[in-house]
Amino acid sequence: MKCEWVKENVLLYVYNELPDDARYELEQHLARCADCTAELKTTRKFHTMLSELPVEEPSPNLVAASRMRLQEGLETAEQGRFWHRLIFDPAAWLRQVRFAPALAAAIFIVGFAGGIATTYKVVSDRGASIASVPVSTPAESSITGIQSISQDPGSNHISIKYNTVSTQEAQGSLNDQRIQQLLLFAARNNYNSGVRMDSVDLLTQEPNNTHVREALMYALRYDSNPGVRLKALDSLGPFVKSDPRVRDVVLEALIQDSNPGVRTDALRLLDPVRADSSVRTVLQELARSDQNQYIRSQARIMLSQLPEFD
């Protein structure tokens, strides 16, 4: 009976994947069983034989060449990204795209948006004034992204495909699922920090909802505006004890947020969990070497309130 179990697990043993107790049992059995010991030997031999197809270390040349090629690739990718950031404002978009005077003759812009075809044509003759043919008013439609830009080879004709969407309005209470979805979207995706602030503000009223909590954690981690981060932090504070993910996010904010106000707040909010080993480790590090004097002293105080551990 035991032999069967051993034979099933000898492969895992050779790969060092057995948990300690199973490993111990197996070794004990092997000491008494010639059959199984032979099986182990065969397995080990096979295992070693497979190394006749050795894992080669990539040559320094290969590594260097790969890195260089990647750098080129990243540069191209970065330029592609630039266009993706241009959203919402057609005027700003036009301002950002610099037209060299030589790049004159004709630019055709064709847009697609679920039935709404917008055509914006700019014609210029050797640097003469640009005559524009306006189409749908920017107020009603906004550009959500540039899909593609291509230039006819050997000419100055450029065609740009962009997507537009029309603005809509949703109304309802905080309990409406649609409203909640939009708030979550706004907290993550809006380029206007005021809008993000408003949405996070409303979301703080519902931190028990999983999606809301995730959005708040996201805001704390990634939002560029410290006010928004602070708001999210304060709302998540009560959950450091019950939710380890929240604790970790707040810990992260304490360690690496660029804003001292956020860090100080994070430190304060971690007080209920100061005995947790990960928190304690961070506190020790902060008490020893943090640049911010207040944080150093606060960390020391919190540590001194802990019972002594070995």
Partner: protein, 198 residues
Amino acid sequence: MAGQASGRIDDTMLVREAQHGNRAAFEELVRSYDQAVLRLALHLTGSEHEAQDVYQEAFLKAYKSIGNFRFECSFYTWIYRIVTNLCLDHLRKRQVRKEDAPVATDAAGEQYDVLDQVPDGRSGANPERDLMRRELGKRISHALEKLTPRERMVFELKHYHGLKLRTVGEVLHTTEETAKNTLFRATQKLRGALADMR
């Protein structure tokens, strides 16, 4: 700022920076992982050229989608996932190609696969032993090709790159148990294919 307590925190900071568009931070991350990635791709594809392609695709993909990384797993796992998926694609394509792979006959009248490439960095003073070694290597390579792409991947990650089965599971979006069973199946197939090797 508080000093870095562990490599994990370093990664986190670099990832965050990269997410904010800091290309230098991304390149720093690349440098921590790229040799392992190259090693894996090289051993799996058997070709420096193809390994480079996998490398390029993997890190470009990572660069483009790093904004979606939510720290739900470690960056290590995330990168390995990307590379593994590309390797799986490669293996699947190879399987299809194999059906009409050009076959040639060598001096001894044995058929061999023209697409076979086995990296052989070791040239020793003993040419006979080298030849034997190369032969063995080729046979192992052949046997590995008999595995399904997933079996090959699990085996590759576990046996040749020492990843824990738990990590293998995470990388392949499955459980440790499934990875374990896949490993068993793969080993059994290999033993069968290489049974006549002393």
